[in-house]
């Protein structure tokens, strides 16, 4: 077990430098995550902590683990988080008013208790097998080593976890999916409806708004062949809001030229 002892005690200079640069940054980011006000900033700092963790894994020769950490946690999980945060509101910040009285001391006590429990348990944890050291574990290649463990010794746990995750995903979909009150009309249905209706006037779509020499925008109606404004060429919203202009001032003055 000599080689193992050497391997444990040894930290190469580049790795140590990397650690002392990135570790403080990671700790600052982790603290910032707790204390910043905007939820999106918090999520970003968490993503940064995950990236630094991945770099540490890679520095310790756990290449596969580091890369997968980035793909799965930073790329997929945090991205979903961000999605939801962004959709909740562009600049919603958490309200700092306490709704439940005495929640804070209770939460702090529970947190200290839980972390004490975890630390004491993990510190005394024993895998029940003798460690073989990194070189031994990586002897057949890092990826191959992980694959070997995952699909032989831990295949049951692996499959159970994947079944759990799939169930959770399907469950979330079932819960989120509700039958719409009335079925949405798709592009195809709308197209069919246009041609099957009694009138073919709108078969080619509604007319576009007016284009005049002095004005060219969606708020002025186009003119029908008889010179009257076409109200269907204006969005109903604009009309209701009173943002519609009259087409009168832009119309061409028709001068009757007398032929001599």
């Amino acid at each position: 077990m000599d080689s193992f002892a050497i391997e444990v005690g040894r930290t190469l200079a580049p790795e140590a430098t990397l650690f002392w640069i990135l570790a403080p940054l990671a700790v600052v980011a982790a603290l910032g995550m707790l204390f910043v006000k905007k939820a999106v900033h918090s999520a970003l700092l968490l993503a940064w902590v995950m990236v630094t963790l991945a770099i540490f894994y890679i520095a310790q020769d756990a290449l596969f683990l580091g890369i997968v950490q980035i793909i799965v946690y930073t790329g997929a999980v945090m991205m979903l988080f961000l999605f939801i945060l962004m959709l909740v509101g562009v600049d919603s910040s958490d309200s700092l008013v306490e709704n439940i009285r005495g929640q804070r001391p209770l939460a702090i006590t529970a947190a200290i208790g839980l972390s004490g429990l975890l630390v004491s348990l993990i510190a005394r944890a024993n895998l029940g097998v003798e460690a073989v050291g990194l070189r031994g574990a990586n002897s057949g290649g890092n990826v191959e080593g992980i694959a070997q463990e995952l699909f032989t010794n831990y295949v049951w746990a692996f499959e159970v976890v994947s079944a759990l995750l799939i169930t959770a995903a399907v469950g979330a979909m079932v819960l989120a999916h509700s039958n719409p009150a009335k079925s949405r009309t798709a592009q195809r249905d709308q197209s069919i409806a246009r041609f099957r209706g009694t009138s073919l006037a709108t078969a080619a779509g509604l007319p576009s708004s007016g284009v005049y020499a002095l004005h060219n925008a969606v708020d002025v109606p186009a003119l029908l062949p008889d010179g009257s404004p076409a109200s269907s060429s204006i969005s109903a919203t604009l009309e209701a809001r009173g943002d519609m202009l009259s087409s009168k001032p832009f119309e061409l003055e028709v001068k009757k030229e007398e032929e001599d």
């Binding site: 596969f64 890369i67 790329g75 962004m86 099957r196």
Partner: protein
């Protein structure tokens, strides 16, 4: 010696030189590809394209870049300032990082040092490219969110949903490559293609990869993130000057990066075309860079060709295609490939392999003809009933006698 062993002997300054070279090549490639794209699209549209600045308009892109950089740099009032500035930096950094694991040449002599033009060769090189791409999405999403305006937010969310969905299909398409090359390192995948390129032996994987690579780079016909008809400029609507230039640079470097990845994984990387293997030793091995670049340019041409030919898809159709067609299809393909691989590794006779492949082909044919006939039946059921007869004369529809009654 494998690439990883050669690279391990590199002194630090060689690595630095390689990094600088890759950076320079990428920036130059961007300038050239902006010019090339405009010229090519112009040809396809019967125009001339930029031909005023420099010979053949070659430095048009440089002139545009300088002009862009000298414009006023605006940050909207509603923007989240820090994130607004960080977003383009994330975008542009990550797209350069992908090049670290791409082997650009075979063994060459660089300033008297025997090496290969590849910064590093790690056993999970291809996964590394994916990891970097998934960080690159942050640039787009954050740009969209931090602009504090609606269209950028929609564009950012759209593009990230798109990139994440197509990354799955892309990843699945690579599983067959990993199975057949027995490695996830880019250099070993290239050397596994010394006989046959994977675009021939694993053709379905290549098709899936090629489609998802267009989706992954947000390029036409899948450019929903900046669909100007729907979202103004998409995620970079509020950006101007240098920050916009960074997004622009990132987009083109990304195209070159996925083209380089496709070259490495499916087109034999820096290796010569079949039958021209003797050229690989020309110029002391440096000629392999030419082959690599030629293949990348080929892919770039495909990108431009697609843009010049196809109209933009509808967003929901695009997502449906990704999730309901590409992903199931690649899963089935992986199943077939791995079965074949296991059969041949366990020494099954050739007749079993051929019989298995034949059975698969029969199944596919049967499935597709069933699908066709059900489609035909549905089309018949869908046959439109009486159509309102217009009150004006219309041209005759072939195969149908039109009777027009004007008496109503």
């Amino acid at each position: 010696m494998t690439n990883a062993e050669i690279i391990a002997t590199d002194p630090g300054w060689i690595t630095l030189v390689k990094g600088l070279l890759i950076f320079a090549v990428c920036v130059l490639a961007t300038l050239m590809s902006v010019w090339g794209e405009r010229r090519l699209v112009a040809r396809m549209q019967q125009r001339m394209g930029p031909n005023r600045v420099g010979p053949f308009g070659l430095i048009q892109a440089l002139a545009d870049g300088v002009k862009l950089a000298l414009k006023e740099d605006l940050i909207p009032k509603a923007a989240d300032r820090i994130v607004f500035v960080v977003a383009p930096i994330i975008s542009v950094t990550t797209c350069f990082m992908a090049f670290a694991v791409i082997p650009l040449s075979g063994p060459v002599n660089l300033f008297g040092h025997e090496t290969v033009m590849q910064m590093t060769d790690i056993p999970v090189g291809v996964l590394y490219v994916f990891a970097i791409a998934s960080i690159g999405v942050y640039g787009i999403v954050l740009a969209g969110w931090s602009s504090g305006s609606t269209y950028p937010l929609l564009g950012g969310l759209r593009s990230s949903a798109q990139v994440i969905s197509y990354e799955i299909a892309m990843g699945l398409s690579l599983v067959a490559v990993f199975i057949y090359s027995g490695s996830m390192s880019t250099a070993e995948i290239v050397s596994a293609q010394s006989q046959w390129w994977f675009c021939v032996t694993l053709f379905p994987s290549f098709v899936i990869f090629a489609i998802s690579m267009v989706g992954e780079t947000n390029r036409a016909p899948f450019d929903f993130a900046e669909a100007e008809g729907e979202l103004v400029g998409g995620f970079h609507t509020e950006y101007s000057s240098l920050k916009f230039a960074l997004f622009f640079l990132a987009e083109y470097v990304n195209i070159v990066a996925v083209s380089a990845l496709a070259t490495t994984l499916f087109f034999g990387g820096y290796r010569a075309l079949p039958g021209l293997g003797f050229t690989e030793s020309w110029l002391g091995g440096w000629f392999t860079v030419f082959w690599f670049l030629a293949k990348v340019v080929f892919f770039f041409f495909i990108f431009v060709w697609l843009r010049g030919t196809l109209p933009r898809l509808r967003y929901d159709q695009f997502m449906k295609f990704g999730w309901k067609v590409l992903i199931p299809f690649s899963l089935i393909w992986i199943l077939i490939v791995s079965t074949l691989r296991v059969l041949s590794q366990q020494g099954a006779p050739r007749s079993v392999l051929i019989g298995f492949s034949f059975g698969i082909v029969l199944l596919v044919l049967a499935g597709s003809s069933l699908f066709e006939s059900s489609k035909k039946r549905r089309a018949q059921e869908d046959e439109l009933g009486e159509v309102a007869v217009p009150s004006f004369p219309i041209p005759a529809i072939p195969g149908k006698s039109m009777r027009i009654e004007r008496s109503k």
